[in-house]
Each structure stands twice: as C-alpha cells, then as structure tokens.
C-alpha cells in the first residue's frame, strides 16, 4: 500500500468501518511508515479533542433563558430598535450611490475644462498659419 492510499483509508480506519483485509493493509503500512503513523496519530488526536467538546454542558438555566426570551418577544418592540436593522443597509446603499455619482462627475470634468483653457483663444490663432497665409499671398501679389 502506498502512502496516498493509506491516507484515504485513515478516517474509515479510525471509525472502524474497514473490512478485515483493508484494516490489515492499513496497519501493515502504518507499521512500516513513520510519517503515515504520525499523521494517523494526529488525526486520532484531533478527533478525540473534538469528541471531548461534547462533554461541555449547556447553561444550567437554559430553560429559564428560553422562557425569558419568549417573554421578551411578547413585549412590543420600540420603533427605534425595529428601524435600526433597515437603516444601516439604506445608509450604505446611499453611500455607494453617492460614490458612483461623484465618480461620474469627476470623470466628466477634464472634458469641460479643455474648452476653458485660458490661452487657447490667444495663442492658437497666432500660430495658425492658415489664418495669415491669405494676407501674405495678397501682399506678394
């Protein structure tokens, strides 16, 4: 048996759900392979720790707490407490929408400014040869 095959069989082996032949094969491999033996021990210890958690008992006043909850539920809920659950998602949705709108607004800004560039009206006509050429041609003639 190879290590990979052995790993697959370890949990069923720990549960005791393998056949006699399969159990013998796993145990034979574990006897020969220290890494798999260490891993099997790690799995066994982990599952044992989880099983030990089952010894934790609930609160001795559990029934009283359930009853207290039922009694609390029967008292009317104040509008403030009721609205809190809705207000938060609404607030974050509004924040998101405002963020998107701000982004759209900022994205459109450079396009508007291009036309408002202060020197565009003065410099460009002087450098534009097409505007002066007809006068030169006129003088030469």
């Amino acid at each position: 048996m190879k290590c990979k095959q052995c790993h697959k069989e370890l949990l069923p082996w720990l549960e005791g759900s393998l056949s006699r032949e399969e159990t013998a094969a796993v145990e034979g491999h574990l006897a020969a392979c220290s890494v798999c033996r260490g891993y099997a021990e790690y799995l066994r210890a982990s599952l044992a720790l989880a099983a030990a958690e089952k010894e934790v008992a609930p609160d001795p006043w559990f029934y009283a707490r359930v009853i207290a909850r039922l009694e609390k539920e029967s008292t009317p809920v104040t509008p403030k407490a009721e609205g809190r659950g809705i207000l938060q998602p609404v607030f974050f949705s509004l924040l998101l929408v405002m963020g998107i709108l701000l982004g759209i607004h900022l994205g459109s800004l450079p396009y508007i400014n291009r036309h408002d560039f202060p020197y565009s009206g003065q410099v460009i006509p002087q450098l534009n040869e097409m505007d002066t050429e007809p006068l030169e041609i006129f003088l030469m003639q």
């Binding site: 790993h7 697959k8 370890l10 949990l11 069923p12 549960e15 890494v35 260490g38 891993y39 790690y42 799995l43 210890a45 982990s46 599952l47 720790l49 989880a50 099983a51 958690e53 089952k54 934790v56 008992a57 609930p58 609160d59 559990f62 029934y63 009283a64 707490r65 359930v66 009853i67 207290a68 909850r69 039922l70 009694e71 539920e73 938060q88 974050f92």
Partner: protein
Amino acid sequence: MSKLPNLTGGMEETEMIHQLQAGDELAFRKLVEDYQLRVFHICMELLHVREDAEDIAQEVFVEIYHSIGRFRGASRLSTWIYRIAVNKSLNHIRRKKWHRWLQPIENLTGRREAEPVAPENTLPEREIEERQQLAQLWHALDSLPENQRKAFILSRMEDFSYREIAAIMETTLPGVESLLQRARVNLQKKLWAVYKKELPRTKV
C-alpha cells in the same frame, strides 16, 4: 410561566405533540429538558463558540414554541428539532460572515469595537497546542461544502445513524453515504496539507 414544577414520567411522542400544540407549558419544559443537550451539541459542533451555540440553541426552542402548531408529523419530532438546529446554526454562520464583511465599516462608524483577542500566551503550552490542533480541525471542517459538513458532523461527532441523517437533511440514504465519503476524502486532504506543513518542524 417560569415557575414550573419538575416533570416526571415518560410521554409518548404523539401525545407530547398534542400537548405542545395545545400550549401545555409542562410539555414544553419536558421537551426543552429532553432535547437541550443534543441541540446544544449540534450548535456547538457547527459554531464552535459556546456563547453562540447557547444563543442559537435557545433560538431553536423559541422557534419550536412558535411553530409547533404547524408541525404535521411528516417526520419524527426529534428529526424536526435537529433540522431546525442545523439550519439555524448554518444561518448564523452566514450572518456572521456578512457581519465580518461589514465590521471594518462598523468600526469606522464607531458602532462596534473589534473583538478582543484571547490572551493565549497565559495558557499552558500543552493547552495551546491542543487548541491549535482543534482549530485546525474546525477550520478544515468549516471549509467543506455545507452538505458534506452537515453529514460529517451529524455522523462522526453526533453519532446519528445514516437513516437519521437522511431524515434531518431531507435526502436519501445513498445521498448521505456519498456525502460522507466525499467529506472524509476532502477532510483528510485538508488535514494532510496542514500536517505536512508542520512536518519538518516536528521531525527536527
């Protein structure tokens, strides 16, 4: 409602259901006393935090109290109760994930403080190791697909029979077997990855 005498003697399930549906408080008390341990353990296996498990276990009985009138006996009472416990625990996990996502925003708005970290360095080394090992197992289990996790916890941790698991999960026996098979393979792979990482350290 809270000042009730102790109940003695056994009650047939159908009789108990009728009494519960009639609003019998003694029957409700008996129901809570009979099932609280197993319900609490199911919640504990799924949530891993005692306070959360107790809170959700209480919620389970509140839900039972309110909806017992609608229980038509399509399944056993115990199956119905355990199904509520599993579903409520999984809903709590989903809610918690959502809150974890929102927590940085809540901290910014000053609504909630970050949860305090347990002072692990004050514990004995052996206990720290055990805690870490258990945390690795829970982490591996929590990362399994939801149905595989449910099946594995109900079978391996809570010792339910395949038939009971099938009834709780509203699936078939072969379905449960297949889920458990895949859960074992996946869990083993995940734990091997964790163990492999620590291997050079432990071998030295």
